[in-house]
């Protein structure tokens, strides 16, 4: 346990009060004088071409202000998503919007608009598009590979025989789009005592954030004020400015609260630009609130996998070779690089001696895909867990033991280039979890009770959890307050706040004296990463640390200038900077701040380091002369992959009659370096666990292949886990060993928190069914019932986006 002043201690994040009083303002809670309400018209067809838009029905309607179509907004290059389009490529693709004095009138207007669309061929299952003669999701092709070497459309087809082999679980022989590998795969398999070869499917599903993404915007003095739902303030700016075709300085983004994002709001999504364009067109503030159904369509979804993997295990359980092939369902906009990330996760979590990854991203006319909590890592975690169990069974090993044999540690090298990791303690996490859960005793399962059988499972989660090169900005004002500026968004992980505590730690000040500035770019925010990718903790602890160091440095210089001597003779504490030998030579932070203003220059932000981002530069410019400015870019040394790791243990009681199971116990252990905010960490582990439970048995996309219709367009049909689908208690813990490359030792955890959960559950289900593995998520009730009854499943192997 750390003995810091702030790090590792609980605190009350400043935005919490608003959340419990209803005063918190989400994008849809803002109103502006003369604001009108917009409603969206989305495509009824999976793929088509708009041939005519007839708005004559609106003539003479009271309260209708205007209509905006694709002709009023920038066109984008395929396969990217546009704000509005005349070439819809999925059911729900935005085609136009209507603005009116109130929402009902806007909907009345929508009902009177006639849009003619010419249907085009569509595909809702990648394999249907991949087979010779199958439809392409876009006229340009059916595959779009994004890579640093260059991205582009391709048309890749497999013969029906190749598809059949793939379905039959054989190694795919069809063309693929990307490949990476390391080690000697052939030797690895040759050395293997046990070889396991499995086809698998993970069906994609919607993010379904609680808040349907609303945006409101108006123009004033050439500046566009956008009230949005974002996973970052600073990081959104370049994209938002591009969407609105203005300079960054002419955009203000207000996103004080965000009703969930889970990866779907990392960058400025096209819809966020619509109110700006609409407002420009009709000259009034415009609020666009979309329906839940539209949030399903536009709110992004997890990439689906249809894959094959072959693993070789040595007699001691060590993975000698891993060969992974993944067809990715990347939707119509070719988004999400989940496949390769999944390969990376296999490499990092199980450290095979040799490995090959091959990927084939295929477009479908289903909802657009994007990063979703553990994109790639969590799908593969769910598939790997039961396969590891199967290997353990065949090698007659304990299931935790086989994971320990392959566990990541400080000297593991990972990925194609076999990079080092900053630090990793998977063994410690497994030990801690096994102990807390009581693995040893629970391994001897109680006998079957009627139709109820027990199953215990263990799962591992991973996500690369950090980035570098972002800016930190702190400010000490003459009132003695310490202002901590954070441009990281806030989804409720509270890491925007817990990472600013690194600055408070460095400045040795009380939390009560600190003011966090966030939520609006008008709060003068530094260039920050996003509240995503599990990276805030590592990334912004560093950024805030360097900014605080800069402030401390300036405090010492100011003191030295006032009392003589060198800056290095001074130290800080108790909100004072003082001479180490002569405490009479000291001044308070408040006095120092006044001095800084008097001195000007870099002390009070008249000048700034040129290596900071233009977003930070503008912030400093705005703050110039308001106090002592500490600002810096994170250039601390960083080498290797930054792993966020988590393990979970769970026990379920599965009812063979109904296919339902109760989660009797759940233990989640975080391995994310030093614990920064215990409550926040526990909340992330618990929340991630629930996500895993949804992915394991409930959530999936379902599309009718005949007409391309989606079945799961609401919370109800999407099967978002409820109170009663989750355990009464969730137990969590943390390894709490510092990461050397983070000033206070922290790494991120948000995504592994889910991966370990879904993996533990698929592992537990297999255990309950005497080792039967479905190689599919979700494992729905009907699959279990059919299996127990010895019936075939309704779907064909590797089918996806189906019931």
């Amino acid at each position: 346990m750390s003995n810091y002043k702030h790090i590792g201690k609980d605190f009350t994040p400043p935005d919490l009060l608003g959340k419990v009083t209803g005063k918190a303002r989400f994008a849809e809670d803002f109103r502006a004088d003369g604001m009108v309400y917009a409603r969206l018209y989305t495509s009824p067809m999976a793929n088509g071409r708009v041939t005519n838009i007839d708005t004559s029905g609106l003539d003479g309607m009271t309260g209708v202000i205007g209509v905006i179509t694709a002709d009023d907004v920038p066109a984008v290059e395929a396969p990217n998503a546009a704000i509005l389009t005349n070439r819809p490529t999925f059911i729900g693709d935005p085609i136009l919007a209507v603005a009116a004095e109130d929402e009902k009138t806007a909907e009345d207007a929508l009902a009177r608009i006639k849009v003619s669309i010419e249907p085009l061929p569509f595909a809702v299952d990648p394999l249907d598009s991949l087979v010779t003669g199958g439809p392409n999701a876009r006229e340009e092709g059916n595959v779009f590979a994004r890579s640093s070497e260059g991205s582009g459309f391709r048309t890749i087809k497999w013969t029906p025989e190749q598809i059949a082999e793939f379905r039959a679980g054989k190694e795919p022989t069809g063309e693929f789009a990307s490949e990476w590998s390391y080690g000697d795969l052939a030797r690895g398999f040759a050395d293997a005592a046990v070889i396991i070869e499995e086809p698998f499917v993970t069906t994609g599903y919607a993010h379904m954030s609680m808040e349907p993404r609303t945006a409101m915007a108006y123009w004033q003095n050439g500046t566009c004020f956008v009230y949005g739902s974002a996973q970052s303030q600073s990081f959104w700016m370049p994209g938002l400015a591009r969407l609105l075709e203005v300079e960054q300085k002419d955009v203000v983004l207000i996103s004080e609260y965000t009703g969930g994002g889970f990866g779907s709001k990392i960058g400025a999504y096209p819809l966020a630009g619509l109110p700006g364009w609409f407002s420009r067109k009709i000259g009034r503030p415009v609020q666009l609130r979309i329906t839940r159904e539209q949030e399903y369509y536009i709110g992004s979804a997890r990439v689906g996998f249809q894959g094959w993997m072959k693993l070789g295990f040595a007699a001691n359980g060590r993975i000698t070779a891993a060969d992974v092939f993944i067809v990715e369902d990347i939707g119509p906009n070719a988004t999400g690089g989940d496949g390769s990330s999944a390969g990376g996760a296999v490499s990092l979590v199980y450290d095979p001696e040799a490995m090959r990854f091959r990927g084939l991203p295929v477009m479908t006319n289903t909802t657009p895909r994007g990063a979703q909590r553990g994109p790639g890592q969590n799908q593969i975690a769910a598939i790997m867990a039961p396969i590891m169990d199967k290997a353990a069974r065949e090698l007659n090993m304990d299931r935790v033991e086989i994971r320990k044999v392959n566990a990541t540690s400080n000297d593991t090298t990972v990925y194609e280039d076999q990079e080092p990791v900053t630090s990793a303690y998977m063994n410690e996490a497994l030990d801690m979890g096994a102990k807390m859960f009581g693995w040893e005793t629970r391994r001897n399962k109680p006998p079957r009770r009627g139709s109820k059988v027990r199953g215990i499972g263990v799962g591992q989660g991973y996500h690369s959890a950090g980035a570098t090169g972002y800016d930190g900005l702190v400010r000490i004002t003459p009132d003695g307050r310490i202002h901590l500026h954070s441009g990281v968004g806030n989804l409720g992980t509270y890491s925007y706040a817990s990472t600013t505590r690194a600055a408070a730690e460095v400045l040795k000040c009380d939390w009560e004296d600190c003011v966090i500035h966030r939520g609006s770019t008008e709060e003068n925010l530094p260039w920050s990463s996003y509240q995503a990718g599990s990276n805030t903790s590592f990334t912004h602890q560093r950024a805030n640390y360097v900014a605080a160091l800069d402030a401390v440095d300036k405090l010492k210089q100011i003191a030295a200038q006032s009392f003589g001597g060198g800056a290095d003779e001074y130290d800080i504490d108790g909100k004072r900077v003082f001479h180490v030998e002569d405490s009479s030579r000291s001044m308070s932070y408040a006095e120092a701040a006044l001095q800084a203003i008097a001195l000007g220059g870099s002390y009070s932000g008249q000048t700034w380091p040129e290596d900071i981002h233009e977003v930070t530069q503008r912030a400093v410019q705005n703050l110039a002369g308001s106090g002592l400015i500490g600002v810096a870019k994170d250039k601390l040394p960083q080498n290797g992959v930054i792993p966020g790791l988590a393990v979970a243990f769970t026990e379920i009681e599965l009812d063979l009659d109904t296919g339902k199971y109760e989660i009797l116990d759940y233990v989640g252990i975080a391995e994310c370096g030093t614990v920064v905010h215990p409550q926040g960490l526990a909340a992330q582990m618990a929340g991630g666990a629930v996500w895993g439970m949804g992915m394991a048995c409930l959530e999936r996309h379902v599309y009718d292949p005949h007409n391309g219709l989606p079945a799961n367009i609401g919370f109800h049909q999407c099967g978002i886990p409820t109170y009663l689908d989750t355990p009464l208690h969730v137990r969590t813990g943390a390894v709490d060993l510092p990461d050397p490359q983070s000033p206070f030792g922290a790494r991120g955890i948000g995504e592994p928190a889910m991966g370990c959960s879904v993996a533990a559950l698929t592992s537990a289900i297999a255990d309950a069914l005497d080792g039967h593995i479905f190689n599919r998520t979700p494992v729905s009730r009907d699959m279990i019932v059919n299996h127990v009854a010895g019936r075939g499943q309704s779907f064909q192997t590797l089918q996806t986006n189906n019931f």
Binding site: P44, I117, H706
Partner: protein, 252 residues
């Protein structure tokens, strides 16, 4: 009043749903008006003294034709009852009876067509130039069938073929003991089939109304008897037909 109804297809486009059933009432009213007027005119005419049914008899319809006619009549009634009553609000499980009756109907019609083609002279139903003169020449008498009867038969033939073909197509895409529903028909095509099936049905209803009316008119009642018992009297023959054109054999 529309003759067709429309709906939105799965992608929101407007397609045919089927015939507008208002048409049924229009046809019924039209048929009733025609019958009423015709009846009045007939009543106004001074009645010629009608031929006697006594004396020697000739055969008009042999047993097989009569059986065919009445089987067909029954299936038609069943089809109309099961097809139309649910639409006018009399609800019952009609579908299975309807398609079974439909299959019987189809079989009967096929039998009739084949038989007409091979065993009987189509000529007796053929509308010739001579027939067309019939209405304008009081002296001219028809062969076995009058122009009115032939026209009625021609019309019914066309409608029956349409109703059967559209019916069979619809039957092909629903669940049956032998096959499951298919997507063979686009929604637009499906709409057309329902439209044709409904339209021909509605028109048939009109035709049948007239057929029945004429079947029971006093001066034509002997035809009904002929369809039941098979014979007409020599006297009725000479009074209504031209033996040159039609000279049936004696009947027992």
């Amino acid at each position: 009043m529309d003759i067709a109804e429309f709906k939105r297809d799965v992608w929101g486009r407007e397609v045919l749903l089927g015939v507008s059933w208002d048409l049924l009432w229009v046809i019924l009213i039209a048929a009733f008006l025609f019958i009423a007027i015709h009846a009045l005119i007939k009543a106004a005419e001074k009645r010629r003294q009608s031929p006697t049914a006594d004396g020697p008899r000739v055969l008009r319809h042999d047993a097989l034709d009569r059986t065919f006619h009445w089987i067909m009549a029954i299936t038609v009634v069943v089809l109309l009852v099961t097809g139309i009553l649910p639409i006018i609000g009399v609800n019952f499980a009609w579908l299975t009876i309807h398609w079974i009756a439909g299959l019987v109907f189809t079989a009967v019609i096929l039998f009739h067509i084949v038989r007409s083609l091979f065993r009987k002279s189509l000529k007796s139903m053929w509308i010739s130039l001579r027939d067309l003169r019939e209405p304008f020449d009081a002296a001219q008498k028809p062969g076995k069938y009058s122009l009115a009867q032939k026209s009625m038969h021609a019309g019914v033939t066309v409608l029956t073929l349409v109703v059967i073909v559209s019916g069979l197509v619809l039957f092909a895409v629903i669940d049956t003991p032998w096959w499951d529903r298919s997507n063979a028909l686009s929604e637009a095509a499906l709409g057309w089939m329902f439209f044709l099936h409904g339209l021909s049905t509605v028109l048939l209803v009109g035709m049948i109304a007239l057929h029945i009316y004429f079947g029971v008119r006093p001066e034509k009642l002997f035809y009904l008897r002929a369809m039941i018992k098979g014979w007409i009297s020599k006297d009725e023959l000479v009074a209504n037909h031209d033996p040159e054109q039609w000279n049936p054999g004696e009947s027992s």
